[in-house]
Subunit: 281 residues, 7 copies
């Protein structure tokens, strides 16, 4: 009867089906591996021609790393599929791989978030290389936008390297005209009208002629504040992006000179010295 | 007996059923792909006509990207369904896809949250382009509301780009009338009643005639604070949204001029200089 | 023998069962869709009559959106059920839908939390439209309570829009009587007993007669603090909710006037000017 | 042969079993619904008699809401069980319900945490209505402890509503005797021994006789600090809970009077005015 | 043929097996319930004799609550097991219970963490009742260590109730000897060597004789800081735990007295008053 | 025919197989329990000989606790396996155990993280007992490194107990030579060159001879800051780890003495007292 | 008939298949273990030759630890696979292992994140050993980059040990030229033009000749600020990385000397002393 078992055509049909499926799995895996390699290479080539210049050596390392990871993962998958066809119970292996996958997936979620955000930064054109931006406490000129990190250089020369996933609120200083703001203190006994007239009719006219970065004539807004040592007059000047600091410095120098000409003083702190009267006497 | 197996009608019926199902899967996938494409195109067209003007090139890139992702995902699903019909054990592939899906899902949850919040911002009309709003530490005029990010420009010209998911508490300055608040210090030996009368009957009347942005006559609230250098009188003026800073500046100038006319001084810090008495002697 | 297969009554019984089940699925789905629509409409109608006035256009958009989402979801479910009856292996589709569902579920959890908290705010009557409340750093009068967001207007006119899920600790200023607190400084050589007597027997009596918002006679609590420039006396006055600022202002004015009448001074900062003695000599 | 199928007793046995099971499911569901309703009613009744007085209308709304949710959930479950008995593949429905359940579960976890913490606050008797407590930055008298929120009223009249899940560290001021702490400054040329003797032997004796809230005789701890304007003596007095502010105020007044009697001065800030010597000359 | 079905011994064997299993489930559940009750009672009894004294009434409530929860959970489990034996498809019930379990599990994780941390606090003997500890911003004497919360009383009498899970970094002040640190300012024209000699050879000797809480002779560390008003000398004294404040107070008093004896002054702030020279003239 | 059932050899073969499997489960469990106990004992013994001295009583408690938990868990698992072999549907029990396991797992993740970080602290030799380290705001000498917590004693005697999982950034002060930094102010009219020469050629030479803790000759870095009261010169001295405070104190004393010898003054704050000129007159 | 069972060739075929599978599992496990060991050894060897020098003893401990963990895990997996082939129901064991795996996976996710970030730090060459970087509040020279932690030494000698996963935003000071910034105050009556001319034409020329670290001639930017005590002039100088502090110190010294030569004073704080006029009189 053992012969009957061996000669049972159902058995052979089963063996045949399994064999065909295994061959199909192997062929499919081979095709998938080649497809993955082609896709990775094309992505790299396309990117190579794009606006983001990449370090050549680093690209090659990354490509080979990605190819290796994909290849080994696909072959491992193929092994599992073949074992499944051979009737092995895969639950323990799948559970084990699941725990490893969970730990890696949790640990890698920052990486995924960096890449997704990086894609949107580039796609939405939030800022470009050369723009002056601020991210959190880091401000500077963008020198590199990558898929994972963005690098900016502050005006004092530090290079800040920021993962894209940490770039949430961005402030871009290079998109719109800037406003230079200068606050000048005058004493309480100053003639405010005269000071504002001097500013408007003489000083700001002069500054506007001097500075080509100005987009419009500077304005005197008025009395911004009552302070301990006097009143504060606010002057603003619309200028080209990122020129506001230089403009404000020139404004300050010209205002000081103009005020000197008209005898308007910028006051030092003042203190009224009272002599104790009744109780102490 | 091999012939018997091959001639078994059940086998052929099974093969027939599987074949029909595979054809159905392929046809269904094809229909689903076309449906998805149509839906994406309609969404884009509808949005195109809506109030949010979108950059043409970016829309086309986004459309083709979304179409590609949906198409490849559906074909991959169809492949899995066909493999399932052919009797392959799909558990390993599903587990692998699940880990990748988990990492992508976790990494993309910010993206989903941005879009959901963006939808509600537009739907609930929380603010419109042109409104002055504040989100966290960022304040400015809204210049663009998108599904993923909102852009606002501060009064000094910076453009803040804020992901919608980070917009939780919003302060809108353009909805209701604003209140300009001016605090004026007077010395402790000032006649408070006189100062308030001068303010009410002379200065504020004059300001109300001068400023068309005022909605009501400014009010003197009273003695707001006892401070080291004197008392603080508070003046408030209801005005049109976002005019409160200009109104306050005019108010300050007029109050200073009026006080000067009536000899009421805004005091400098005072200090009583005591001579050491008993112990030091 | 093919005829035998086709003529097998079990096969036809199976086909019959499957057919009946598919018809049942379709009919059930149809009924479920109609039920869901009716429920949504009733909810909207009921809410319409409730105390929360809703923008008509927005309600209609929301209703049609909710109906669409529910309808398409149910039909998609029905499709899956039918495919299941036809013997398709649904695991890949379910896994794919699960990943999408996970991402949407994670991204939408804020939305769910907003609605749940909104329900409890309304149900527990934590605050009502018109109340003055503070949530985190935002303080103002409630102008709208919605299921997802609450809007409050600050006293200077800004409108804060706060998602309900961000409303954790709430401070309600409109429930209980408020306490106006006024701290008055007197010099170290003042007669504390006399100052407190003047306050109690003269000034506070007068204020109580003047202000109808007071709920009880203001009290002098005593010497609250030893400060560099003198002692601080604290005066408190229970008054109606949200009148404490006006009450405190009047209190300050009356105290200053009363102290002036009795020659009690509010001191300026004092400084003992020592002449360097031994070592410098 | 169709007759053979229909006459097959196994089929009828199967149909019979399924029928019995469906009847059992329906009966079981009915019983479960009634049980759930009874349990909810009993809970409400018991709580009604307990120490937490609940608003009648709100209880009825809550009861009917809970009953409705439980009833519909159970009937939906019964529907699924019946469909399962009829041989439907429930995976799609379960997956859909799972996604909804996940979103609701995540969104509702705050609610669950509030209730669990609320239970422990009541069970562990951390504080009672009438106690003065501080939670985070909110301090006041407890006026209501609920399962979800706790309400406290600050001494200036605001009512803080705090979800129980946000109550982690609690400070209870009403459990133990409080300590009133008064710091008095004396100049560097004061006789410390004399000052401490005057405090101990005269002033604090007097205060102890005067204040019934004191639990023990106030103590002079000694020289607490060397400060710019002199030394600081610290006086402490154990007193009944929440009377420490009033006690400290009386202490300050009595210390000032006692020091005046003995010619001990509380010093104003002192400054040695040096005349520039060598280099400036 | 119906008779054949009914008379089929396989059917009866199946019914018999199921019956036996159901009986086994019921008996097993009964035993498990009794075991759980015994375990809970023993735990309570053991704990009763341990070092943590528990409120009797609270223990009884807790015991009966725990017993009820365990009992009902086990009976519900048994019901499910019996239904499973009867051939019901339990997936819907399990899914429903899973969602509820998830919400409760997420909401209860704080509770679990409190208990685990509480266990380690007691097991690792991090602090004991009577120790002075600081947890975050809360400092005081431990008055109760529970499995869920720890209570500490601050030196001014407040009782802080802290969930154990919030106790991460703990500072224990009662384990090691403390160091009293006193900083004394001297003017820049003081003879530092003389001041340090007086401190070392006279004052600190005297203090060491006076104070039994000192563990070693106090030390003069040297010139700790150059400050605006002079140099700062630092004196430290090792003493018994929690006596450092009293020791420092005595040290300060003795240093002042000793310095007075030797004519070393603790300086008031000094200011060089320059007369404007050239430009102003 | 009942006899036929009972006599069916397949039934008996099934019963036999199940019996053998149950016996195998019981034997395997027994072996696993013994193996676990041996492993735990060996771990404890090995650790006992290692560099971490453990409290004997605590080790024994911990060992017996771990053994108990492992034993009961394994027997519970064995029970489930046996029930599975007997044909019980284990889904409900597994789901229940899963919910409990999830809650415990979430609550215990801090514990796991503490142990993993503790292992890496010891393995990577980040710091050793006796080192001076800073973790967050806690600085002191390490007195114990455990698997779960690390204890450090601050220089004033407090013992900080820090869970290892909270130790992220660590600063170790005992690895590299330290740098003592002393900033000395000199007036604006001081001869900077002379001051720096005196420092370099006289004072720092002398200090280097005096202090054996110095690793190199102290350096004068130059003018560190322009301050209101003068310029700041910075002196640095490389010295052995943790001696920098004593070195800086000696440096300060010697610099003061040397400056005194050469008539260089450390300036008090200066203030130019201007007489109001034109407007006030 | 028992003989028939035993002689049933299907049974023996089943036993044979199972036997072959078990042998295959054992052989496969053995091969996997050897493969894993080889991979680990190769990784260690490769790394050994790389740029990261590793402590020899630590490498060996780590290698043997990793090998042990992998080996025992694979054998445990093999045991499960064999049990599965023998027909045991593995669900309970898998569930138990899953709970343990979840806790470990959650607790270990920081570890995984550290390693992933460490890989990208090295791969992207964000900084190298010897660079001066700042991470959060920690600034110093990098002395070691590992896969899990990075060590930096601050300029005062502390060694900061930072897990790579905590390194998000990095600031690298060694990549680009630095900018030394010096702010000099001058009085309001100074001739700004003259001061800037002196700076530009004399002082900065001299400094440029003196300092080889300068990359370009220092620039005077202009009037940076109006301050209480005068105007602030800003001077900047581009210099080599990390030399900016030394450059700024020299700049400050030279500016002081140059200003002295030209009689330009750096002002002390000024105060206008007003005599009280009308009201006090």
């Amino acid at each position: 009867s053992f012969y009957a078992v061996v000669a049972n055509p159902d058995l052979w049909l089963h063996i045949l089906t399994v064999g065909i499926k295994i061959v199909a799995i192997l062929v499919g895996t081979h095709l998938a591996v080649r497809l993955a390699r082609t896709v990775i290479e094309r992505l790299v080539e396309q990117r190579d021609k794009g606006r983001i210049a990449l370090n050549e050596r680093r690209v090659r390392t990354m490509t080979s790393l990605a190819t290796n990871i994909v290849t080994y993962t696909l072959y491992f998958l193929a092994l599992l599929l073949v074992l499944g066809q051979l009737g092995f119970n895969l639950a323990p292996i799948l559970a084990g791989a699941g725990v490893v996958g969970l730990a890696v997936g949790l640990g890698a979620q920052n990486l995924v978030r960096d890449v997704i955000t990086g894609f949107f930064i580039i796609f939405e054109d939030q800022f470009a290389v050369g723009d002056v931006i601020q991210v959190g406490q880091y401000k500077g000129t963008v020198i590199e936008i990558g898929l994972r990190v963005t690098k900016i250089r502050s005006w004092t020369g530090e290079v800040h390297i920021i993962p894209n996933g940490r770039i949430t609120e961005v402030t871009n200083f290079s998109v719109a005209n800037a406003l230079a703001v200068v606050d000048v203190g005058v004493a309480y006994d100053t003639d405010v009208d005269k000071a504002m007239r001097v500013l408007r009719e003489e000083i700001l006219e002069e500054v506007q002629r001097e500075l080509p970065d100005l987009v419009a004539k500077p304005e005197v807004l008025g009395v911004e504040q009552f302070r301990a040592s006097g009143m504060v007059l606010r002057v603003v000047a619309e200028c080209k992006p990122n020129t506001q600091f230089a403009v404000a410095r020139t404004l300050r120098q010209r205002i000081k000179e103009g005020f000197d000409r008209h005898g308007i003083e910028i006051p030092y702190p003042q203190m009224v010295m009272v002599q104790p009267t009744s109780p102490q006497a």
